[in-house]
Symmetry: T
Subunit: 147 residues, 12 copies
């Protein structure tokens, strides 16, 4: 049976491509997701994607992934730095969990230097632009094994 | 001409395989480096590796890479959290710079939550065990393009 | 006329029974609410319940309780530690307000040691598992008098 | 063409007039908005208004204003102190951005002394009750010039 | 055999009824203890009570309860915020341990916001005046089961 | 009788027009004061102005305004961040008190993020350049009513 | 009727005269108390004195002074810096309360720079050696008026 | 030869009697100084007094007292909390130095809890209203001996 | 003449053997004291021992040792972290002073990482279980020389 | 045309020679200035000097130097640690700016470890006594080139 | 087979005897090591010693001791306060680990109050001068049992 | 006999001329040292120079200078901010000690604002580029007197 990856995108990521392209790159979120999905399918994974500007939607998407998806790749945007609710939800999910960022938060404003998610994920990948997503896919592949 | 990756390993990494395998995994450093080197060669990269327990060695290895290597992949071990000297050296290196960790420092003791290197590298990858290195190689490959 | 208690449940509480039962106990949220409602009815109270993973829903439920409910019993989950919006809403509610927790936040991670709600409620009850809810009902009963 | 001002109101502001009138004054939000809209129309501006208790709604309203409104006047309520998501959204908006408060947060509880929005707006106005809104309108007028 | 509850009262609680009745209520300590004892006896518990203004007395009372009492209900007064000695003693007691406060310390001066006892008790109840004690009794009853 | 506004300008403001015009704008202090005075006179107010680089002068000007001026509009320059003496003086003044800044201190160096005056003024206006003064005048007008 | 002053001396003050005379002076506690008592009697006051190395004794002495003594002069020794219990007791005492120190705590180690008692006393006198006590007596005399 | 006391009054003290009389009492500064001077003369001291709202004046008055006055009694007002310049000046003065406050700064806002002067004076007296000055005079008298 | 060692044991140490033996070891306090006393007598020292759960008792025991005992070996239990009173008493004692702990406080909870006694003792020994006491005896022997 | 150096001396420096000569050396300020002026004249510079105990005077002297002096050498005394007003003034001055101290503030009290001026000057020289001034002159000479 | 103790000495310890003898005592490092070695041999232990001013040397010496030495006694000098690398190395060593200091760091500058090694050693001994080493040997002897 | 100056250069200084010339200037380290040496020889001093990227080398160079060199001029690079070992070594050196920086650390990142060396050197010179070294030489010359 095909294993499923849940790709989650937090606040303001729907504006990718139009938001500070010098920081986040020229691709739109649709383009990021398309690339990710195609590459995942090549590796035998299915992909579901949700972008939301609401913490509650992201929490519920994590709930829904329990017993259904094998991995979650999450870029929680600005909620990365304040949401203990997403962290609590991820802590309950038993599959692979990867935190991903396009930019390198540690090189930006101080409020971006802390992550509520960092201690509940398997690992994190930050600072490689669009490549961050393909590295996250590679990581899922490595951790779940070949499909 | 073959592009070269400098792989740097900081204090205590020479003990991999014998140190807390429940945290760092069962592979020795030699095995990590062999895997990394072979995979890199498959992609057309050369690899030089240095492990040292001395901050000065790591600084000088970075100096030596200027004008010679195209990328540095560094796991600075415990120096990650205190060495401004390695950070200053990396800031001078103009190629690709990637911080890598086998474990997820953000999920461990508080002193491991800060990195002096974070703001001078392109990006960081943490928490995937041996896979962290192969993701770092993928990242170099993406950032430097095909060889 | 029957007095009404608004029982509010914050993020991730809909996962009770499946989330860390060693911390939160084996009952589902439905079971908690059923027990609370039956015990409240025995005391002559009506109960409305809302669980939401959205801060906005909880704020609006507090607004709606103004002039309608006589008491609010709230377990705001992870929002306990960051939501000044719920605190502001509760501050406007003139009835009885009780903060309740299944686990004892003071014995867990540091971010759970602070509560934005603590200074606007009448009192708080924490650490007694399912019993926390029945104590909260007792407290409402004491504070509002017999129905 | 008429220039448009987006007036945004955050959590609990829908309760104005009934919430601590000794702090926030006797006017309801509808009355504040009506006054603001009429005065803006006299100056040749159109006004759209959104009140929401959900951070996500406010973020999306800012997104929608891009390329449509010339100015945003925002009273983010309690989200002023914690929402980096609204701050990120405002940072992308290229028009005039004004933070406004009815009360003077600096004279209240410590958590109200910091604003995540302060560094991304043009300026802020606080402490003048209903007059804060008319000053914000004046500021928009000055910054955008006569219509 | 009758189960015994040790009720402990810390510094200044012997002045209840005469100390800030607007905060602590009109009852004297004797009245609180009488009510608690009668209600406990109705549930089949015996009660021993100690009030002391000396940290050492409270520590020794906890020691004496080991192997004799099944539960401790403690209002440590101002020692709540500084006594690691009482906390260490409670940590050794294997029965039910409940922290109780008449007022809501979280809504008072900052030094009352921390409790050395919080992490060693089963749970805490605060802010309900005389009712705090009856809730604590309910909690003991729930946790120890019917007598 | 004409109501009087005291306009106070603190250290370095006498250099306006020549100091960092990219931050503070091209107008000199004399021009700011002239504009403010003319606009105030149109509204029926008299204006007195004092600029000083001495904290003591500003304190004494506030004293002198007691029983004479109806409003104080103050831009205390760098003293904004350290002078409790001006704050104490303003606290004694019973008329309208407005803190004004040309730039947005919250978007500059950390030492400019705190204001000793913030808790003793009616409100503050910051970040609108020359417009900040005209907004302050509008605020006085609103708060004192038509002359 | 003679008014009574309760003079309280905290931990280690019984060693005066033998403890660091270069800091605390050459007089023994008995000599300090004798001088204080005689001077008080000359002014028409009675004096009771208690020295104790136990926080509980000092708390109970304050309790006993309620309704009996008109003033408390207290040098709480090292408990000055940690005892919220004595502070709570003093807050209940309705007469004159004066904190006194032989040395100047603000010029010594950092832990001596904070006083839990400072906010509940009428005033404090520190740094004058034996004279601190006679100043405290003068202060009582001024505050209670001639006997 | 008559010994001289320099009495120094800092910012805003010239407003005594009109400033928050519920905190500072009903006497004007002139009345405080007259009382102090007369009582000092009765003890055989001369008094010079300076009130200034300028830190520089207070510093220079301390300089001028070197080699001329035998004691300085200083109420530095709000400069108490920030002026290292006055502290440096006092440190050079070799006579008796007493810090005095009408109110009890430790019971007011946090910024009043620190004194730059505390570690360079002989001692401090705070919280006794007008009596603070007469206690300071008593202290000078004790420390300098009978004239 | 026989030299005397005062062995002091603070709060909860009377429960040794029954308290967390995995941390503190299986010996009771009586056994620790017996071993210590016998070994000391072999070296020619006399031993007095006091265990108390009261800070005041420990302070007074230190006082009583002045001019009588040549050395104090103290395990102040939880008072180690908060008692400035014991520290002040020890500072007056002119003989050898040694702080001892069975466990290693630096490897436990943060509140155990600070010691009020550390700066007034000759040295400290921590973490060796029952051996800590015999090392302390060795240290006394070294510092006082052979008897 | 002769280039001019403005030499500025802050609070208490007029007392040099009489103030803590073990820290600041035996020379008076006049002697320091004379030496500096003569040496500067030998290098072809003119010197103006101002000492003031008033922050305002120092700010205005910096203003007056704009367009007139080529360099400012400033020892701001205790104002070094708190005056953002002098820092703002210096930031506007476009010539050479040098911070100088006779003693080494980093080796003294903590409040002397921070300098508001440090980030707006070209460089700083501290700890060399009278030589600090001659080094500052050398620095000016180097930076402005030969006259 | 003889058990081996590795004695490690960090930066600057090679200067013992010439460095601040009032703090560290008159013995040279060679003398300390000789005494330690002889006493150890009397107890049946072998001793290897390494002094280095390089963190890397100390780390590698710890590595080399794995599987060879039964105990490490380490005085890491100034590296005690910053080296997480030595701490990580010690954490891997499974034998007895003892931290030792000649002086009492807790009684010196604040930077000496923290130890990175404290939480990974069995215990620590500080403040007894040359005796610290002989106590450490005693501790090894106790912990490893007779040879 | 010729007096000797030890010139020490820490990590990364060997890259001068190629590292951020906009911050550190265009000269290589060899050029800096040559200039320094020639100028020193003109003044009659000998110069030894050591650059190292190893803390241990710098510590040992300081040791070697004891009894041989009369002055140390040190630019410790990034070790300035973390090395207590170099500070301890310098504290033992009895000659002249000068801290020197090419750039002005106080105007750069926060981690560069603290110096472990500051309190053990005679003085420091920062921010003058190549001139910093010649000022340091002047300082040595002044402090040691003419050769």
């Amino acid at each position: 049976m095909t294993k499923e990856i849940l790709l989650l995108s937090g606040p303001n990521l729907d504006q990718l491509g139009t938001r500070s392209p010098e920081i986040y790159g020229p691709l739109t979120l649709v383009e990021h997701v398309d690339r990710f999905t195609k590459a995942a399918e090549d590796l035998g994974f299915g992909v579901r994607h949700l972008q939301s500007n609401f913490e509650g939607d992201l929490i519920e998407a994590v709930h829904a992934a329990r017993g259904r998806s094998q991995a979650i790749v999450i870029n929680a945007g600005a909620l990365t730095h304040t949401s203990w609710g997403i962290a609590d939800a991820l802590a309950m999910f038993e599959g692979v969990k990867i935190e991903v960022h396009l930019s390198n938060p540690a090189a930006r404003e101080p409020f971006r230097h802390v992550s509520t998610l960092a201690s509940v994920v398997n690992g994190s990948i930050a600072g490689f632009g669009a490549t961050s997503y393909s590295l996250a896919l590679d990581a899922v592949h490595h951790l779940l094994g070949p499909q």
